[in-house]
């Protein structure tokens, strides 16, 4: 066994637990998971069947943790994990899986296939078989502090513009603030509206908040590439800043996987519960709404639909919050056919957007969303993830669609009742 393969096998073994074993033991090859996966449905290629993406992990489970498998491997009959196998599976494990979690919702025997793909990626990267785009993003995240190479200087520049434009002060490193606000690189680079929206909404709500100069980035390439050590270091930066600034709640931005990374994987990566709450911005806004601290005026008149970011909704559990918030500002809100926990992915989650080789495939996968959009014909498309947003915009441009994509948080900010009008 080459050193590469040995590292992969060890990482797989590290990941395999009772649930993995129960899942592999239960799969009856019914193929229904394929019918839930946009990569299979839009390409029609059976190799994209979700459970098939797990063959390397399955081999290690079978040959190491089952009686027959162990006997078979003793006499050399068990199918082996080889470097070539891992190389071949790279496309299946990364390019063609956005970790959307839809397959896990429909498998009749209840397999959490997505969760296993997350585990499998640990072995893939251990053997070095991860896409270059993700490797680059991860190393930039570790070295520079952001997968897109956004530096503190760039953040400060954005803050400077914002303060000059609005006359508001953006709090940085304020100890004792209630909320620590994180951003995604995409937001810093492409959607500065987000930070402005936060500043205005939080001011109106009378909530104290801060940005941390050493932990402004929420995204976590570590969990996308499947490297727990990288993921841990990135989460730890946030935890350290939150503990130093003694905040009560850390807010994950309009980004899908950042939420999974912080909210659900974070405490497990560092091996202890957080001493603060981890919340998605939509959860916080919904709390403000419930407390009467978020008040809006006026409505979007356009026919509007909402694209559920998988990691926030299906894999995150923030399902009703966006809908309650949309109701505050939209008159003509229509749901797409499959929505909420059964939504269809934009096609670029789970790190796919950072994989150059996956460019064409992710646009093919977008066609699923296109069909959904064609069915409801919205005039505006709202979402709550900067990564989805870029993919939706690119996909629509490629396919000649012209629907503006807007973020939920910034739309709320546009309709914000100013403190004066709210009091009066």
């Amino acid at each position: 066994m080459s050193a590469n393969v040995e590292r992969a096998v060890n990482a797989f073994k590290e990941q395999i637990d009772a649930s993995t074993a129960a899942f592999f033991s239960s799969c009856v090859h019914c193929g229904l998971c394929a019918e839930a996966c946009l990569f299979y449905l839009e390409t029609g290629d059976p190799k994209y069947t979700p459970i098939h993406k797990l063959e390397p992990l399955r081999r290690v489970w079978w040959s190491s943790y089952t009686l027959f498998g162990r006997l078979a491997s003793l006499i050399g009959l068990a199918p082996k994990v080889t470097d070539d196998l891992l190389k071949d599976w790279k496309e299946l494990v990364y390019d063609s899986c956005s970790m959307c979690g839809r397959c896990s919702m429909v498998c009749p025997v209840g397999n959490d296939i997505t969760g296993m793909i997350r585990k499998e990626r640990e072995g893939m990267i251990a053997a070095g078989h991860a896409p270059d785009g993700l490797k680059g993003a991860s190393s930039r995240a570790i070295k520079i502090g952001s997968p897109m190479g956004v530096t503190l200087k760039a953040v400060k520049a954005q803050i400077g513009h914002l303060e000059a434009d609005t006359g508001m002060t953006i709090p940085v490193n304020v100890e004792g603030a209630e909320y620590l606000v994180l951003m995604s690189s995409m937001e810093i680079m492409n959607y500065p509206e987000y930070l402005e929206a936060i500043a205005r909404i939080f001011e109106a709500a009378g909530a104290s908040w801060t940005i941390a100069s050493d932990a402004f980035e929420a995204t976590n390439s570590g969990i996308q590439i499947g490297a727990s050590d990288i993921a841990r270091e990135l989460v730890m930066r946030i935890v350290a800043a939150a503990e130093r600034l003694k905040v009560k709640t850390v807010i994950s931005p309009e980004c899908g996987h950042a939420y999974t990374a912080l909210r659900w994987e974070g405490p497990n990566l560092i091996g202890r519960p957080f001493p603060f709450k981890a919340r998605h911005i939509l959860e916080v806004l919904d709390e403000f709404r419930a407390d009467g601290r978020l008040q809006t005026e006026g409505f979007e008149e356009d026919r509007l639909t909402f694209h559920d970011p998988c990691q926030i909704v299906r894999r995150g559990g923030v399902i009703d919050e966006p809908r309650r918030l949309i109701d505050m500002v939209a008159k003509d809100f229509v749901e797409m056919d499959d929505n909420g926990r059964y939504n269809w992915c934009c096609g670029a989650g789970g790190g796919v957007s950072a994989i150059e080789e996956a460019h064409d495939l992710k646009l093919t996968a977008f066609l699923k969303k296109k069909k959904q959009l064609d069915a409801v014909k919205p005039e505006k498309l709202m979402t709550a993830c900067a990564n989805c947003r870029i993919q939706l915009e690119e996909g629509m441009e490629e396919t000649g669609m012209d629907i503006p994509v807007i973020g939920l948080t910034e739309t709320l900010a546009e309709h914000l009742k100013t403190p004066e009008t709210a009091k009066g």
Partner: protein, 219 residues
């Protein structure tokens, strides 16, 4: 060996051996799975996982609507087979007597014409399942010996049982002996094939239901 000897052998010593392998096999498989354990989850749950896990153990029996639309053959044939098979296995009076002998307790059965019908339904569904597996591109792509063997192991008891019931093909003792033999084959190989999903699927559903449930997502 006469047909009667053969029947006595399958009913007696061979059945005991099959039963022991079946039970020991199940135990081995479950231990294999459970000893792997699961790491503690430190994330703050949105709600308890236990109830959601229990719920998913049952709710996954019904397909999501989109799946039903995209793969009706797989869903419906699968459903009909499972129901037909379970009715025949669990509600046929001679079977219940066998369970009574092994378990020490029994339950009421259904009239034989219903069982006959259920058995036929199960067999027809199994043929559809097989054709579907051979024709559907995804299933054909995924399937191998490990998928066709369990099909055969399940089909044999059904067809032999039906032949016994209608006194067809072979004299009663020989056919019954064959039926019991096919069941024993099923029992012996059960723990080491995909037939295990009969039990592990509930474990799998529980794990997934609980994991999703903690996050506040009904799965």
């Amino acid at each position: 060996m006469t047909a009667v000897d053969f029947l006595a052998f399958t009913r007696g010593p061979l059945f005991d051996v099959a039963l022991i392998i079946f039970i020991a096999g199940l135990a081995i498989r479950f231990v294999e799975i459970l000893v792997l354990g699961r790491r503690r989850d430190f994330s703050e749950p949105r709600r308890g996982g236990f109830g959601s896990g229990l719920r998913t153990m049952f709710s996954r029996t019904l397909p999501e609507t989109g799946t039903m639309k995209r793969a009706p053959t797989t869903v419906v044939a699968g459903w009909v087979f499972h129901i037909g098979f379970l009715v025949t296995l669990l509600l046929f009076v001679p079977h219940i007597e066998m369970f009574q002998a092994v378990l020490g307790f029994g339950w009421p059965g259904l009239p034989t014409p219903i069982i006959d019908f259920a058995g036929i339904l199960a067999m027809v569904a199994m043929v559809v399942v097989l054709i579907n597996r051979l024709r559907n591109p995804v299933m054909r792509f995924l399937s191998g010996f490990g998928d066709y063997l369990p099909w055969l192991l399940t089909f044999l008891p059904l067809i032999t049982g039906w032949l016994v019931f209608h006194r067809l093909l072979l004299p009663y003792p020989a056919m019954l002996g064959l039926h019991i033999l096919s069941v024993e084959l099923l029992m012996i190989l059960f723990p080491f094939t995909k037939l295990m999903h009969t039990f592990t699927a509930f474990l799998a559903r529980y794990y997934t239901g609980a994991a999703f449930g903690r996050k506040g997502v009904q799965s």
